[in-house]
Symmetry: C2
Subunit: 191 residues, 2 copies
């Protein structure tokens, strides 16, 4: 089986790959996440995932490289990582009592020959109604600041989410069923 | 804040309580999980959750005790833990390409005065189509044998699940939003 490389610094993506028992190494890409705003969100995520995988594939002689990009979309508008607590508050206030989409694009590249497979997953996430005091309490926990949409479903943010429709691991940052299908095309299987 | 006690030996429930930052101790109950089959599944889960919490509440002078019971239901029929690999195979074959329900009943009891609050959550889980070779590979990983329905969504079993509709942590074994609402009535909050 070929060497597997995760082109991401995300501890959450690392934990998801470990969850399915895959052996891999981490080589974070440094592709800038800004992108022309006129490109549709889903397409942009796909370009970024492919760009991240391609950057690392260029640096190694062989191996199967995984790139991913996750976006949180509310009413068609992408929510990035909050710059400050006030912005985290605004994001969580906007998400309260509504549903939004989380899209993760995944790209897998064989570094030896440049062959690429890619796909994405979209999950609907329904937030319960949050009081201002709850939002402030959640922000005080320190969890929102490094996360797109200002929450982490795999942490205390689980308490914000009434229900989801779709793939859970996609919301965490790496849709495992989608990824496994792509990896299968390169001969890599979890079981 | 009162002492919190988890009346369950499940490492998955322990991990979920840790995920939301609660401080607690574990005191597993030994309430038998068998129950008259003529009682509806959801009602039986509620009785078992209350019975588990009550057993531990009887043993301590004070504290807030959490009991829970999770059932996997396919076409109205509960699936327990498989007795043998052949039974795990049959269960996974039956779940393949279909949706089933996971119900977790939760009961919270104040040991000092016996006051109880309880509720449950139900999540639809949609399995993708599994080949016999995939099922055998998953069984060979050793994961199915101690789990109701013969899979664990928080492990390699994530690769079996196409999508869910509802609360994810409910499928793992403890619906956190439901639990937090019950704990709030006893003055316990995660943030």
């Amino acid at each position: 089986m070929q060497k597997l490389i995760l082109a991401s610094a995300s501890p959450r993506r690392k934990a998801l790959l470990e969850q399915i028992g895959l052996v891999f190494e981490v080589m974070p890409s440094d592709v800038p996440e800004s992108f022309p705003a006129e490109i549709p969100v889903r397409e942009r995520a796909g370009e970024l995932a492919a760009g991240k995988a391609a950057q690392i594939a260029d640096r190694v002689a062989s191996g199967i490289v995984i790139g991913a990009d996750t976006v949180v979309v509310l009413d068609g508008r992408p929510l990035g990582k909050p710059d400050a607590e006030a912005q985290a508050f605004e994001m969580l206030r906007a998400l309260s009592g509504k549903s939004h989409e989380v899209i993760t694009a995944v790209a897998v590249i064989d570094a030896a020959d440049g062959r690429m497979a890619q796909d994405d997953a979209c999950t609907q996430v329904f937030f319960r109604n949050l009081s201002d005091a709850e939002i402030q309490g959640y922000i005080a926990s320190g969890e929102p600041m490094d996360k797109a949409g200002a929450y982490g479903i795999q942490g205390k943010g689980a308490l914000l989410v009434q229900r989801i429709e779709g793939c859970y691991t996609n919301v965490v940052g790496l849709p495992l069923v989608c990824l496994a299908r792509l990896l299968g095309a390169f001969g890599i299987r979890a079981f």
